[in-house]
Amino acid sequence: MNPFDELEIDPRLDARSLTEKLRQKAEVAPPEERERIQSIWQKLTLNKSDRIKWAILAHPRPASARAGEIEKLKQSLPPILVRFPEITLVARDSDIFLMPSYAHEKQRPPHIFSEED
């Protein structure tokens, strides 16, 4: 299998970026996975032509088309940034009164109190 596809890395990375990317992956990987990453790194960096050949034979993978499970992509979404400070709502006495709904009335609500009042 193509090493770029195997590790889901962008084939357009240059040798330095590729090394950095694989180092990051290896740091968090379990020992046996780390060995696999190391062998792929060797495969891709020992010979410049080989890295470019594998890059040509890997599917283009721009940042906007990153691989991985969709659930993981959802989890990797950054938190929604709030533009304005959050408004603190405080309940007041008047909030306990329930006003009748006049939504079904097409006309204005009837006067509750007489004009004399």
Binding site: D5, E8, P11, R12, L13, D14, K48, S49, R51, I52, K53, A55, I56, L57, A58, H59, P60, R61, P62, A63, S64, A65, R66, A67, G68, E69, I70, L73, K74, S76, L77, P78, L81
Partner: protein, 432 residues
């Protein structure tokens, strides 16, 4: 920060869109034969994103759920236009399809996949996409290294395809896989017929590799044939002794042949027949079996030698004598009158061919034997009857003609004098 937002969300949106559309397109393009797995769908997410920006997408999109519309919809879409990025995906996707089909010996689908793989690379190579890609990914690579890389890039993939054929020529076990071999040939011809209006290192290397595949396989087959025939034990069973001839016959009957191989096989067959004769084994079944098998090659050689002046069959030039040698052996096995036709053909191919002349001369003398056998019971008194005299005269005119022919064809035939004397005596007896 805003960039981070955009990329993450765009990636999710694209992934969802690809998950929705890619499985349909994979299935349609694989002729309903491949269900992509999650890993493949993940790897090819950019494919749909790229396609959506192409003119060809207008044809693909409305047909995505219509199985019968493919592969024609794809061909039309390709005509309308794909970007190099989309074709980069297509080349890799069809490479995967081709491997899948070849592993299952689904040759019809494999042919389609390999042709589309080839066409995708041709379209990619029409622009500077690959050059730009290489400059971007390996800016410090020397031009020589780039050239070397491009020269081997596609032929190496081709080799992996052909490695999956698993010995169609039976180089290891002598059994020809004619179905695979036929596919092999048709594919090579189809690729050579593909029109590539531009020349690039990678496409030129690929077309050359395709063109060389059959000659290379032919060379391997010829080497095996020559090795087998050299190691042959001349006192074996006929089927074992003739196995190398059957092997090349089966191979070239499928792949098509050149005059070079025909003359090579015929030379070996003539050698083989002479060896049998020297060992007094020419009455055995191996002799006739070898001649019958190799007749396939000799017919081809005869045709090419007869037309050598008018066509470019120059490979056959100069092998006339070998061809006529074979025809002599074939004539020995044939009944009359086919024998005479074969010998006359031998003389036409190689005028003055000694053994053809000798045998044909004897064949005419054999005609005289027949005439003399017919005339022997006729009493000389019958010659007095007019109508009888005419027909008998006619018979001996034919005998004279046969004598002239036999002498003309092979003047030093030692039996000529004896036959002349016999004819003269018989004519005298009948009063002619």
């Amino acid at each position: 920060m805003p960039m981070k937002w955009k990329v993450e969300y765009e990636a999710l949106r694209n992934a969802l869109s690809a998950a929705d559309l890619s499985p349909h397109l994979f299935k349609r393009l694989s002729l309903e034969k491949i269900e992509p797995d999650e890993a493949l769908l993940g790897r090819t997410r950019d494919w749909i994103i790229s396609l959506k920006q192409d003119p060809g997408w207008a044809i693909l999109e409305p047909n995505l759920t219509k199985a019968n519309a493919f592969p024609n919809a794809y061909f039309l879409a390709a005509e309308k236009g794909f970007s190099e990025r989309s074709d980069h995906h297509h080349a890799l996707i069809f490479e995967g399809f081709a491997t899948h089909f070849l592993e299952r010996k689904d040759f019809q689908s494999a042919r389609y996949a390999i042709l589309e793989w080839f066409r995708a690379w041709v379209r990619i190579s029409a622009s500077d996409y690959i050059d730009t890609f290489i400059k971007e990914v390996g800016p410090d690579l020397a031009q020589e290294e780039i050239d070397d890389l491009l020269r081997h890039l596609l032929p190496d993939i081709l080799d992996t395809f052909f490695a999956l054929f698993d010995d169609p020529a039976g180089l290891r076990n002598s059994l020809i896989d004619t179905v695979t071999l036929k596919f092999f040939k048709e594919l090579s011809l189809a690729i050579q017929e593909e029109k590539t209006n531009h020349s690039t290192l990678q496409i030129d290397a690929l077309t050359t590799a395709f063109a060389n595949k059959i000659p290379m396989l032919n060379a391997q087959v010829n080497t095996k044939f020559l090795r087998d025939i050299t190691e042959l034990e001349m006192n074996g069973a006929a089927n074992i002794m003739c196995a190398p001839f059957e092997y090349v016959r089966d191979y070239y009957a499928t792949i098509g042949m050149s005059a070079t191989i025909s003359q090579q096989v015929i030379t070996e067959c003539v050698e083989f027949c002479w060896s049998l004769r020297k060992l007094d084994l020419d009455e055995g079944p191996a002799f006739s079996r070898a001649i019958n098998i190799c007749d396939f090659f000799n017919k081809d050689l005869v045709e090419k030698l007869v037309n050598v002046d008018t066509t470019s069959n120059w490979e056959a030039f100069g092998h006339n004598s070998t061809c006529s040698d074979f025809l002599v052996f074939q004539a020995e096995l044939a009944d009359r009158p086919a024998r005479r036709q074969i010998l006359e053909l031998g003389l036409k191919i190689c005028p003055g061919h000694r053994n053809s002349s000798l045998l044909l001369s004897f064949d005419y003398l054999h005609d005289i034997d027949d005439i003399l056998l017919k005339s022997a019971p006729i009493p000389s008194a019958r010659m007095m009857i007019k109508w009888g005299k005419d027909s008998i005269e006619e018979m001996f005119e034919k005998a004279d003609a046969c004598l002239r022919q036999a002498e003309e064809i092979y003047p030093t035939n030692e039996k000529l004098d004896k036959y002349k004397k016999r004819v003269r005596n018989e004519k005298a007896r009948l009063g002619l």
